[in-house]
């Protein structure tokens, strides 16, 4: 096939710059001492240090998971920097104006609104740079209705009881290799608490940026929605372009009490490595939501475009009767990228419902797998699941796989699974071109059509960004 496939898939990564900023970092390597250092640095209470050490000791007994359909050199955990923070000129910023101008410029370049005046109307942002949260906007406005939105470290100080109550309640520190690692060394992240009956008046957002070359990013996000509360949360991520791999091992826990609703959207655009697969982020993330209360509702929407390796399964534990779990995903891989992503829907309560819509797009030499588990436990009377997994291939040398696991232990359950595979090949492109539509626009139109069921779940601004991002990522790939 001639060049159009190759021209449309290879846009440069535009967030690949490095910010030259003085950082406060610990030497590479992991030990109990490093963990004690991190904990002391953050002035943490003893129970949290204990939580970390327990996780670390358990992690030492665990092996890296190998069941995913991804191949990569195993990270050397002794070469990773576990704490790196931009050195503040002052210990505490009173406002954004006091933040290091270099850091401010970084986020301006990334288009992240950290100035409230300039902020996107109606989105509050928490900004995490390497290991620490830099700033959180709109806090007073949110506090007025009882919402807590702050960095994780700050929550540990100001709301220790809430953190202690919920931390590890959805993803136990021993859950899996990377979750255990995260539990031992996590440095910051976001904390959200929506009190009973409050509908969060604006979208909340966290923007993650890895800057340090050797650093791993291990953030921890905890979102709790009390009875009848609701919130929409957005997560965005970028990283500089290095020819070595950085490790990103986050844990996100969501807790929804009775009738509460949490909508969590991600547009992931970590650096994916170059065309030959050099560099890029290893994205090994554990995301799980617990629908703890009756008729609670958790919805994950993700657009995964970056990372050299993606290993990620945002899941829902449907404990409360009548609770609802949803997973909408677009995963795009190009060049040498590998993604193994999907979800787990664990039906425990009665009449629980889950929906899975997964769209995988593979181009270049990439490998893209959907892996999903639908489990209906014995007491989940009337449970229902619908899964739709579609794959699209662009070009000749990419691959797509689907691994659906279905375990049903209740006879009244209804589980439906549909899967399709399609291809953007020369016939499809010729059809568009023959109507006067250039190849790039044709691909963008075909891909958007393919992803429509997922994009419409995204908040407006994110949907626009996602559309643009997919087109950029595929620029050069069809011909």
């Amino acid at each position: 096939m001639t060049s159009t496939f190759n021209v449309v898939t290879s846009q440069e990564y535009k967030y690949g710059f490095v910010t030259d900023i003085e950082a406060d970092s610990v030497a590479p390597g992991l030990s109990e001492d490093v963990i004690r250092f991190i904990s002391a640095k953050k002035g943490e209470p003893d129970w949290l240090l204990e939580f970390r050490l327990k996780a670390y000791r358990h992690w030492l007994t665990m092996a890296e998971p190998e069941w995913a359909k991804v191949e990569y050199p195993k990270p050397d955990f002794q070469k990773i920097v576990y704490y790196s923070a931009p050195k503040p000129k002052k210990p505490q910023y009173a406002s954004m104006d006091e933040v290091d101008p270099e850091l401010r410029r970084t986020f301006e370049k990334l288009g992240v609104p950290i100035h409230e005046q300039e902020a996107l109307a109606g989105v509050a942002v928490d900004v995490v740079f390497d290991s620490v949260s830099v700033t959180t906007t709109y806090r007073e406005k949110l506090a007025a209705v009882g919402i807590i939105f702050c960095s994780f470290s700050e929550a540990v100080k100001s709301h220790p009881d809430l953190v202690k109550q919920y931390l590890g309640s959805v993803v136990p520190s021993s859950d899996n290799f990377y979750a255990a690692l995260n539990s031992a060394v996590f440095t910051d992240g976001s904390f959200v608490f929506i009190p009973k009956g409050v509908a969060c008046p604006m979208d909340l957002s966290t923007y993650f940026r890895i800057n340090n070359k050797e650093s791993g990013q291990f953030e921890r996000t905890l979102i709790v929605a009390e009875e009848g509360a609701s919130v929409s949360y957005l997560e965005g991520c970028t990283a500089p372009q290095f020819d070595t791999n950085q490790l990103h091992a986050a844990v996100v826990e969501l807790v929804a009490l009775d009738r509460a609703s949490i909508k969590y959207s991600t547009v992931q655009n970590w650096y994916a490595g170059d065309k030959d697969g050099k560099g890029g982020i290893f994205n090994f993330v554990t995301k799980r939501g617990l629908c703890k209360g009756r008729a609670s509702h958790i919805s994950w929407t993700q657009v995964e475009t970056g990372s050299a390796i993606t290993w990620k399964y945002p899941s829902c534990v449907l404990l409360g009767d009548d609770s609802i779990g949803e997973f909408y995903s677009v995963a795009l891989t190009n060049h040498k990228q590998q993604a193994d992503t999907g979800t787990k829907m664990i039906h425990i309560g009665r009449n629980t419902k889950s929906t899975i819509v997964s769209k995988g797009i593979s181009a270049g030499d990439s490998s893209n797998s959907y892996r999903g588990l639908v489990k209906v436990q014995p007491k989940a009377e009337g449970a229902r699941n619908f899964s739709q997994c579609d794959s699209m291939l662009i070009g000749q040398s990419c691959s797509a796989s689907t691994f659906p696991y279905i375990e049903v232990q209740n006879r009244s359950a209804r589980v439906e699974h549909e899967a399709t595979t399609s291809k953007i090949g020369e016939e499809q492109l010729l059809y568009f071109q023959q109507r006067g539509i250039p190849a790039e626009e044709a691909i963008s139109m075909i891909i958007n059509g393919f992803c429509k069921d997922v994009f419409r779940e995204l908040p407006m601004e994110f949907a626009v960004e996602a559309t643009r991002l997919l087109s950029l990522k595929l620029e050069g790939s069809v011909g």
Partner: protein, 254 residues
């Protein structure tokens, strides 16, 4: 309008067209007929720039320009249209949005005003009458779940929207019942003007009863074996293709 001289083309190294000569002038309707595998669909695909085919020799001038210097989408915007034998299905892309984008690309290239969705809505509602298409097909995904006949109807709708100078219709009649064939044939006739030309590629002469060509060419083995007037179609209907092939064999390579 279109001048094809000694055109040769191959796919994966295998020659398919072995020296085609054909002149098409504005206002003319030509039919290319031939047995299956003769290369007649290839001719259409080469003309619209299908990337699987390699042009190995000869020249094609379209309105005096070297056709092969234009990319497939440029040829389309310059007024060449192909009604495909097997139109593809595109889930999630609305038929109306696709038609509007195609219309606007051409309008832009010709320096005409582009139509916004509301203006296009008025425009397209006039056009669908021509092909007797139900309105609901505009909101459906492009060709997705369309029957063979509905797809062909949609092809002719696109032709009506784009008003090409040169329309190549590849096996328009396949998958069509008699009534639909008549509706679409009439639509194509209504779109024909003195400054436009039609190239009908077909295996069966049936369609030529509605869309009546002035010139009929029999293509086989990658060459045009015989060219004549409309009466040749009738003769082919009665006698099949074998006699043309035999006649050509007896008369030498051409």
């Amino acid at each position: 309008m279109l001048s094809i001289k000694n055109l040769t083309a191959s796919i994966n190294g295998t020659p398919v067209l072995k020296g085609i000569d054909l002149e098409i002038k504005a206002g003319e309707i030509h039919a290319i007929m031939g047995p299956n595998g003769s290369g007649k669909s290839t001719l259409g695909k080469v003309l619209v720039g299908h990337p699987a085919y390699e042009v190995t020799g000869g020249e094609v001038l379209y309105e005096g320009r070297n056709l092969f210097e234009l990319a497939a989408d440029e040829r389309a915007r310059a007024g060449i249209f192909m009604g495909f034998q097997h139109p593809i299905e595109v889930p999630g892309v609305s038929n109306a949005a696709f038609l509007r984008l195609a219309y606007n690309k051409k309008a832009e290239a010709e320096g005409r005003d582009e139509l916004d969705p509301l203006e296009f809505d008025d425009f397209i509602h006039e056009k669908i009458k021509l092909v007797s298409m139900k309105e609901e097909f505009l909101d459906r995904s492009l060709n997705e779940g369309f029957s063979g006949g509905e797809k062909k109807r949609n092809e002719i709708l696109q032709m009506a929207v784009l008003e090409p100078k040169l329309a190549i219709l590849d096996e328009l009649d396949s998958g069509l019942d008699i009534d639909a064939l008549r509706v679409l044939g009439d639509a194509v006739n209504k779109l024909q003007r003195p400054d436009r030309a039609l190239l009908i590629i077909t295996h069966f002469p049936r369609i030529l009863e509605t869309i009546q060509p002035q010139f009929v060419h029999v293509l086989s083995g990658g060459r045009i074996l015989k060219s004549a007037g409309k009466e040749l179609a009738t003769e082919l209907e009665d006698r099949g293709y074998d006699w043309v092939l035999e006649e050509a064999a007896a008369g030498g390579a051409r």
